[in-house]
Subunit: 517 residues, 2 copies
Amino acid sequence: MNRRSFLEMVGLAGGSAAVYQMMNVMGLAAPSTYTQPSLGTGGQGKKVLILGGGLAGMVSAYELQKAGYEVQILEYRNIAGGRCWTIRPGDEYTELGGDKQVCRFDKGQYLNPGPWRVPHNHQAYQHYAREFGVKLEVFPMINHNAYIHRESGTKQRQGQLMIDMQGHVSELLAKAVNQKALDQAVSTEDKGKLLEALKGWGLLDKNYAYSKSLATSFYRGYDRDPGARLEPGTPSTPIALDAILKEDLWTDLNTGLLYEFHSTIFEPVGGMDALAKAFENRVGRFITYRARVTGIKQDASGVTATYEDASGATKTATGDYCICTIPLSILSQIPMTGVEPKLVDAIKKVPYGPSFKAGVQYKRRFWEQDEAIYGGVTYTDQTMALMSYPANNYNSKGKGVVLGAYMFGPDAVKFTGMTPEARLKEVVRQNTVIHPQAEKEFDNGISVGWHRVPWALGCYGLYSDSTREQYYPTLSALHDRFILAGEHISYWNAWQEGALLAGVTAVDMIHQAASKA
Amino acid sequence: MNRRSFLEMVGLAGGSAAVYQMMNVMGLAAPSTYTQPSLGTGGQGKKVLILGGGLAGMVSAYELQKAGYEVQILEYRNIAGGRCWTIRPGDEYTELGGDKQVCRFDKGQYLNPGPWRVPHNHQAYQHYAREFGVKLEVFPMINHNAYIHRESGTKQRQGQLMIDMQGHVSELLAKAVNQKALDQAVSTEDKGKLLEALKGWGLLDKNYAYSKSLATSFYRGYDRDPGARLEPGTPSTPIALDAILKEDLWTDLNTGLLYEFHSTIFEPVGGMDALAKAFENRVGRFITYRARVTGIKQDASGVTATYEDASGATKTATGDYCICTIPLSILSQIPMTGVEPKLVDAIKKVPYGPSFKAGVQYKRRFWEQDEAIYGGVTYTDQTMALMSYPANNYNSKGKGVVLGAYMFGPDAVKFTGMTPEARLKEVVRQNTVIHPQAEKEFDNGISVGWHRVPWALGCYGLYSDSTREQYYPTLSALHDRFILAGEHISYWNAWQEGALLAGVTAVDMIHQAASKA
């Protein structure tokens, strides 16, 4: 019997949970919490009202209608997707306060002001991407050739810092081991293996030193590369440990090691809204666009939302159940009746994080042509925080749009407080500190401060340990016929995966309740 | 004056070398040894005979004809490209010994039996890719989710090993520092900064321990991922240091840190031969195909090659100069007259490395669907050595071709010694040890042992320190009117960059000689 037919047998005997457990034992399963809803056809004759046409709302509608439920989505904007949003040439965006920007990028260029990366371990996203044929391209989250930059003027290639950090730490540890300082912690047998590992992993020479040599340059790169004929390469000089420590140059080296950033990490080809569009193609017919929800009322028979439609008229929509995906920042301002006060209170208790992103179109891809940086992220201690280079159309001759700034917290508020023109000027000024070419190559740009986005009023639900403990269980629960969904009802805050998982679990919970009713 | 106009001024005053030097000072330049040949139009009335239509030969022809030289390429095969080769459905390949294989991959699938990756720091390649519009896609050389595998049964995700190695080494070093073991090596000021760095970079807890926790799982991943609602994630257990040391699980962790593998690293969209095809489009009219060179003769007026043409007839071709890109493994068997014995001797002294690659088409992309591995490389101590997953069409529903084995040396000879069918059977058997699904999903495959490839007789020029010292200077030099080119005339052995740089430098050297003549 092969493993597959064995798994099939396990499945027949014990269902999908047993298969999952067996796959785990066999080392095949990913530890994802996503399981595809399997509602059968039990939804006939029941209606679910969904508030908000972002990913959480649309995945809910998609799964529910497959099971025979009637669904209706009320969406504030005239397009679906919510924070899963791509700004393209000609798009207009008016933020809270009235500042209006028009995207003047060249054809084919775009900015993803919200989510911009898709982890491979976000299995709900990957499931729907596979199902809908959403094409993914690699986002080089680790780019050894991008910089760590400091306002002091320090600018180092990330790969060299990574290698030097490994080297210096290994050299020091080898020194301690050789001085018998760790004889209590490391057995004699392990000691030999450890020294061997430090030499290999830390690129140490025969004296256990991490030194300037062609051997270390084989990893960290050269002052002058090896070439043809009589050019063996000129060794480069490692960055000294005290220089790394003095300016904390190690701080962003681990970013690419964060679980959600593990390679291979992706972006959808052509813009982040690809999955939103794929959902909209399938559930758009259930969406009432330009519907601003003004009140929510639950009673024993269902949930009714009052909304203002495109013409300004007040209308209502009703469901036997309601999945509400409106961000808490907005929902907290909408009167709710018939839900327990504990929930109404909890909704008001979770602040939303401010964040700011600027997309800058440069006239040529100088980061590629002059500096051999292809995609990835440069980190700086300037307030712009980071810069990310386009992860597609490498080596193309025309213009390119970089993410010129992306930060959270007070700096985000500060940037958003400027006029759109002043923001861009400051972003380009800071970009120029890193890339002297930037000022001259600047073309145009557009920026989004999420706390000023009318349909979000913040980037994502920002929990503390205490709000997570006090209010999150209430926010996560089904309240008779009313349930919340969205990235804020997950531990993947600010990620599309959180929205999808919250939507899918809302669907499961409503279906269970409806099946019992 | 801005930097660019400053650079332009430097260029006017001092030429491109001065610009390069100034760009270095400004931190803009890459340390590449590639400079674009600028021959002007001095080639009129002179002919260069080029032996071999691989990248070295074609780049030479391309640059020479631009400068007015007459060029002729003699190529053994009926297509150009040499080792820059892509096998596609329907392609036939007959190896030395007579075994013939037909590629039975599905439409759109392919194997790059030779070079398969393009580093960003290979600036000659990048230059021509830009000039010819060769589209590149990211090759995820570092894939945290691919495996390190041992025949013992050990199978660990690379990202987890990377993180655990950093963690354990940091914990031990912190212990030594806190025990004052390194007080002589580290100043008091640095000691505080070092402990802070070890805590951050090594993910240590407040007691400087690298431990099982949600904090370390935030990097290394979870036993069960965070999810929606009440699923905060279940911490995973770090791999113990002695387990890492016992089986040397760290050995392949640095592979992605090798200079030529630094991200962002690429593959051409649609197959590695994209650059060869782009060159062939431009210089194909100068190529005499199916010309087997049987003799080379230099005299005071030029170089003449005798060759057997497609019909078996003996012919000759002559040039004022000759660039010979025929691999030394073959050139050493071709009679040469009129070149100094030292060169003839040196040509015989460089062995060519054996290597073996197998492309295996599987019926479904189980590595993605079951194991969330998207591109990248799994390393094993089985003789197959490594397995690499397709770096394109992620999440597609159909079949996929993996590089099922790639090794050098004795194991390569052993694999190639089997029949093509037996090789594939063994490759799939070993693949199945890593991926239990492989056996059932096997569809078909094709393999190439480079020492049996009639037009190469080996993978690449394999230098020792001693052959590099004794023979390489002779091989690199211009010998009157005759000069060698190819990856073997570089320090980028086995890389396309070496072939391109050797071609470009050959062109420069011939042009200098011709200009003086």
